[in-house]
Symmetry: C2
Subunit: 208 residues, 2 copies
């Protein structure tokens, strides 16, 4: 039988799952905003971010209350500490989706993405959506084995990140410095986003 | 009289102070590596980063041991949770110093910094050193009042970050896309570094 204490622990992981779904939704919208120069989509990402932050606050308060009232030890203590860390990481992932949406908004009605980089950035966006979904699955099913898969996705993201720099530095690049700055930052945001997903899955693998 | 328990709590804050000093040293060296195209200095930052990571691991293990064995509540629990968060932030600040050092190394024996941006990047580097020192003082003296000062430093950093983009986009920019990518990333690293220092000071102000 699950005790009230174990139900609280399960609730923490449940809330993390919810937070992950919101981050996944933010990233999916940010990708659409960027690829389609869709200002409404960009605004949605930006104005919804506070909901991710609020979830984090609620989650952290619950985790700290569990520490105070239940004095978890051993594996359960590791779980609660991991939850605190993962919530911080997920909040940061939401911020990165916002950063991408803000670049889309800044360039609207133009697209921030030159046509010849569209395919690469599309794939980076898809990997970002994939790794956050997998991180969510790892969390709610407490399945550390997804960690290696996410690491492979992250390797692919890193390789696309490097590829973009090569394209920016090619003689054929015709979008000047402004275009290069946008792409540099967008690419960096995607790359960090995937790093964070790896760190979430690593924590699940080590501490759940 | 201080109990053994309180001594352990003091020790946590002491270790955070030590970690902050190492991060400050890494940032100071990264600045020198960048401004003077000093490859040995860059290597020092890169090869010393593991010492910051090790400190973090030791610190986190001690914090978790305190949670398990002492079951802190109220203000002391908040302190221990804040320590876990601050250690993660400091580790990240160390990583950002490494990123800056790596750009310096990548461009060696050239300088990654065009002469006309030297003054701006020098000031950003100085602010980075300042905010991490102030964050360290806030920590060890448990003085939340430094938070507002660090916020002001961060405002200045943000304004220099924006100024750099204006300079990159000016018609007189003569360092092409590669130079623009380097400066975009360096500037972003400094800007994030200062954000992290603000977050350290905010935690001290709220939770210490």
């Amino acid at each position: 039988m699950r005790t009230a204490y174990h139900e609280r622990l399960d609730g923490l992981v449940e809330q993390l799952g919810q937070m992950t779904r919101r981050v996944a939704s933010a990233m999916s919208r940010a990708n659409n905003a960027l690829l389609d120069a869709d200002i409404e989509m960009a605004e949605k990402v930006i104005t919804s971010d506070h909901r991710i932050d609020e979830l984090r606050e609620a989650l952290d308060a619950e985790a700290i209350s569990i520490l105070a009232l239940e004095s978890p030890v051993a594996g359960e203590l590791r779980l609660v500490v991991a939850v605190l860390r993962i919530s911080a990481t997920l909040e940061r992932m939401g911020d990165l989706a916002v950063h991408i949406a803000k670049i889309a908004r800044l360039r609207y009605p133009e697209s921030a993405i030159p046509a010849e980089l569209r395919g690469t950035l599309l794939e980076m966006g898809q990997i970002a959506e994939l790794v956050v979904q997998k991180a969510g699955s790892a969390l709610v099913s407490r399945d550390g084995s997804l960690f290696e898969q996410i690491e492979k996705d992250d390797d692919r993201m890193d390789s696309l990140h490097r590829k973009l720099f090569t394209l920016l530095l090619d003689d054929s690049w015709s979008h000047g410095v402004e275009g290069a700055i946008d792409v540099t930052l967008i690419s960096r945001y995607y790359e960090r986003f995937a790093d964070h997903a790896v760190s979430v899955a690593r924590r699940v693998s080590n501490d759940f």
